[in-house]
């Protein structure tokens, strides 16, 4: 794996490749629409339940199922070899090839054979090995590795394919896709007919019957499993399900999620060796590959990854993958799930750079048919990596400061003075020296001259209010957007609620947690629990969705992971009282405790969903309802819930990725023609406002609290 500088160079190369950005970008936009169409009339949540049950049940007893499969497949006449490691799998296949005098091999698509680097091993022994899936063949001829689990050659243009094929057939071919496909048919036909050995993977393996289930569109897997006299299937044990009925939900989801089809052209169920085309008895060998999958199944944090059906929908909706592709974001297995699988099948360290690319937006969690939480596992990888390797020095220094609230806050105050020469209209366009990267593609909000915590003391709240709510500001509202905090107080006061501000509150711990620094996040959590639980408040409200998520659930999870059970219990109890601003205000309006006055002739506004508000807190409706209640029409932007590229410290770590994600977001905002973009997250506000300001764009960015505060009865 490349070092850190090398990795950034890879990213730069990918970002500068116009084919890649164009092809992946267009695909991910089209995918969202075609996927939705494929799922029409299907209850996706119910289907997910079925897959979670079938695959989850299997993941918990892989060893038992592998034993059952072995017994049943053997009874049907297959030979089953259970390979613990890639070496064992390769050795078994190589020995078989030697024994049977195999010279020519055809393969249909199999990720497991890529995982064990089988082709190289066979070729080293002098065998002729041909991939027959069109995409895989292109990749093989080009000497590359697949950039996508379902569409291996998505990063290549038809011109590039034509050039590669021309070389192969020694004839100048035009970049005409049907013609290129015809060339593949013709060239590979002879390979199928001449091969002694066909190697396939399997999408599922059924323990109770010893069957393999294979889905393809091109028809190559049927040829691979029929024509050569020997068939070897290399199957990861996570493909095992217990019963034939478990196949059904997976087959319903896989084509829909992978290629937006109701079903692939071909679905084959193989149980033992069938006779060959001349009536001869064929040989079927099934290599069940473990390679740490059983260990993964025993790890409560990672067992869920074994439910993966390899549809790659997580790649298709990922804002980072669609920019950099699978050659940067992944290894054999690509994207976020690829980072997880690489950490296990290869080594934890091998995932170090790849997993860093996850921006934690959670898009993948919405589409995964197996309801796998990739971002959560990525955070766990970071925690383990940080434990093993320690933190980078600079990061360590920063977190040490964040860990000490007084020091952290006094430094922010000092920075407010130091930034003076660079700040204008409350924004910073340029920063000197090593900080310049931070303000390269977006301006930064100037650190407030007086933080919210100071300004709060001067707010005169009405006396004699019956209910008390604690306000949790979070760093951004406290030190960059104190006006948002003041708006929150004003709105709640009008609903008859007194706002208290426990001064000992500190950073919510999200930045440390997402970087894997759980010890720091745990210290933040303890400080916040102690500060907030004693406030005597009926609820804790935050105007930052990331902080809200941290307070409602992540503090408890962090403390639990750090073995601090009692603190975790307290954090969980506190978490039940935490609510985001828009949800709370909508509730107050519904209860008749707060009346909003719709403005006359207000312009339409567009709304940006923050990742945490939409996907973790599932509160996409309240802000829109509030906007309408105060008299704004909401004009939806394209991909309103696509990440803005901020991702907390992500934009500092990968500014080169954060910037193009932001660029797309700004385009979507501009296309609405609205003069205002409303949002609920001060982090998104910082990113989007910064981008607009840097571009000299007049579109206003406004937090819901500020908009609502102007329309109170």
């Amino acid at each position: 794996m490349a070092d850190r500088t090398g990795f950034h160079e890879h990213i730069a190369e990918a970002l500068q490749n116009p084919n890649l950005a164009g092809a992946l970008g267009r695909f991910s936009e089209a995918y969202a629409i075609s996927r939705a169409k494929a799922y029409e009339g299907i209850d996706f949540e119910k289907l997910r339940d079925q897959i979670v049950e079938a695959k989850g049940n299997a993941a918990g007893k892989l060893d038992v199922l592998a034993g059952r499969f072995e017994a049943e497949a053997t009874r049907a006449g297959a030979r089953v070899f259970r390979a613990g490691s890639p070496e064992e799998a390769r050795d078994y296949i190589l020995r078989l090839c030697r024994d049977r005098g195999v010279k020519r091999v055809v393969k249909s698509k199999s990720m497991a054979t890529e995982e064990i680097h089988l082709n190289q091993a066979l070729e080293k022994e002098g065998m002729r090995v041909k991939e027959t899936d069109l995409g895989e063949w292109i990749i093989q001829l080009a000497g590359q590795r697949p950039s996508h689990m379902v569409m291996p050659a998505i990063h290549m243009t038809k011109e590039e394919v034509a050039a590669i094929f021309s070389k192969e057939v020694k004839e100048r071919l035009a970049a005409d896709i049907p013609r290129l496909v015809a060339v593949a048919r013709q060239e590979l036909r002879e390979e199928f007919l001449q091969a002694d050995l066909g190697i396939s993977g399997a999408n599922l393996a059924v323990a109770e019957t010893g069957s393999l289930v294979i889905l393809t569109n091109e028809g190559n897997a049927r040829l691979v499993t029929t024509l050569p006299r020997i068939h070897v299937a290399v199957v990861g044990v996570e493909k095992l399900v217990e019963r034939m009925a478990d196949v059904v939900p997976v087959v319903r989801a896989l084509p829909r999620s992978a290629t937006s089809q109701l079903l692939t052209s071909y679905l084959s169920v193989l149980t033992g060796p069938a006779p060959g085309p001349e009536g001869e008895q064929k040989e079927l060998h099934v290599v069940l590959l473990d390679n740490r999958r059983t260990a993964m199944g025993a790890d409560p944090r990672f067992a869920q990854a074994l439910r993966c059906i390899r549809c790659a929908s997580c790649l298709n909706v990922c804002p980072v993958f669609r920019l950099v592709g699978g050659h940067v974001f992944g290894d054999v297995y690509t994207g976020g799930i690829g980072a997880i699988l690489t950490a296990w099948f290869d080594a934890l360290e091998a995932s170090e750079h790849i997993q860093g690319l996850c921006i934690q937006c959670g898009n993948c969690t919405q589409v995964c048919p197996a309801r796998i939480d990739i971002p959560e596992m990525v955070v766990e990888l970071r925690r383990r990596l940080a434990k093993e390797q320690g933190q980078p020095l600079l990061q360590k220094g920063i977190f040490r400061i964040v860990n000490d609230r007084r020091l952290f806050h006094s430094m922010l105050r000092a920075a407010s003075l130091a930034q003076k020469p660079f700040a204008r209209d409350g924004m910073i366009r340029h920063l000197p020296f090593f900080l310049s990267g931070l303000a390269e593609f977006r301006s930064l909000p100037a650190i407030a001259r007086r933080p919210f915590r100071d300004r709060f003391r001067e707010i005169e709240q009405p006396r004699g209010l019956s209910e008390k709510v604690a306000f949790y500001a979070g760093c951004l509202v406290d030190f960059a957007y104190p006006g948002t905090g003041e708006a929150v107080v004003k709105v709640l006061n009008r609903a008859g609620i007194e706002v208290v501000f426990p001064e000992a509150q500190t950073c919510c711990g999200a930045p440390a947690r997402y970087a894997g620094s759980f010890a720091v996040a745990a210290q933040n959590a303890r400080d916040n629990v102690a500060a907030l639980e004693g406030a005597g408040a009926s609820a804790v409200v935050s105007a930052c969705p990331t902080c809200t998520v941290a307070l409602t659930r992540e503090m408890a999870e962090t403390l639990e992971a750090e073995g601090e059970h009692e603190w975790a219990v307290r954090a969980r109890k506190l978490g039940e009282k935490v609510v985001d601003f828009s949800t709370l205000v909508k509730r107050l309006v519904d209860q008749g405790r707060l009346r909003l006055v719709p403005g006359e002739g207000l312009p339409a506004v567009t709304y940006h969903d923050s990742c945490h508000l939409k996907r973790t807190l599932r509160a996409e409706k309240p802000p829109r309802q509030l906007l309408q209640a105060v008299g704004h029409e909401v004009k939806e932007m394209f991909e309103s819930d696509m990440c803005c590229g901020m991702g907390g410290s992500y934009s500092l770590k990968f500014p080169e990725i954060s910037k193009p994600i932001l660029t797309r977001k700004l385009e979507s905002i501009r296309k609405t023609g609205c003069g205002t973009v409303a949002l609920d997250c001060p982090g998104c506000a910082m990113q989007i406002q910064g981008g607009l300001h840097k571009a000299g764009d007049a579109v206003q960015v406004r937090h819901l609290a500020e908009i609502v505060a102007e329309r109170l009865a």
């Binding site: 038809k158 048919r185 019957t209 091109e218 029929t226 034939m244 009925a245 079903l263 071909y266 169920v269």
Partner: protein
């Protein structure tokens, strides 16, 4: 159920034809073989795996009409054929799929190496979905269950859908009512 099957099969580029009985279905198959230009030369032949739906064909009459046609399905014959005819045991309505116990490779080959596949099935064998089929068949009594949904396809180059990669470019579904 047939309407759903037909709509779904057509949506994935299969051509669906329905006949009241084996007689007109057989005529259609023969007519199609002629129209496809079946002839006794490599690349233009046809292989036909006979089955119970169309009944035992009259080899002599057909051999006269179609000299490129053989009922002996071998790997060599299939590899030299442009058209394949086979009978399928079931059809799945909600995906427009045909399914077959293909343990005998002679039943499988006509749908694998040819450019055009004529797939004959009995309308009465329609089931609503894959779950029903998998509950009905016992894979332990069947070495190779094959399901076919439309012709062979790929989108591996620039995501452009292209029909006919390694399998048939054209799938004609022949539904027989009685």
């Amino acid at each position: 159920m047939f309407e759903q099957f037909q709509a779904r099969a057509q949506a994935v580029s299969a051509e669906v034809h329905r006949f009241a009985g084996a007689g007109p279905a057989l005529d259609f198959v023969v007519h199609t073989l002629l129209a496809e230009g079946v002839a006794p030369e490599p690349g233009r032949r046809a292989v036909w795996c006979p089955g119970p739906i169309l009944g035992p064909p009259e080899p002599e009459r057909l051999a006269r009409e179609l000299p490129g046609l053989t009922f002996e399905v071998t790997r060599a014959a299939a590899a030299e054929s442009k058209v394949g005819v086979s009978e399928l045991d079931w059809a799945i309505a909600d995906t427009g799929t045909l399914a077959q116990d293909a343990t005998d490779p002679r039943r499988r080959l006509p749908s694998m190496l040819t450019e055009t596949h004529l797939a004959v099935f009995r309308t009465a064998s329609l089931v609503p979905d894959l779950a029903t089929l998998l509950a009905r068949v016992d894979p332990r009594r069947m070495r190779y269950l094959t399901c076919i949904t439309g012709p062979s396809r790929t989108a591996d180059i620039e995501r452009v859908l292209t029909i006919g990669v390694h399998g048939p470019r054209r799938l004609l579904v022949v539904a027989v009512d009685a």
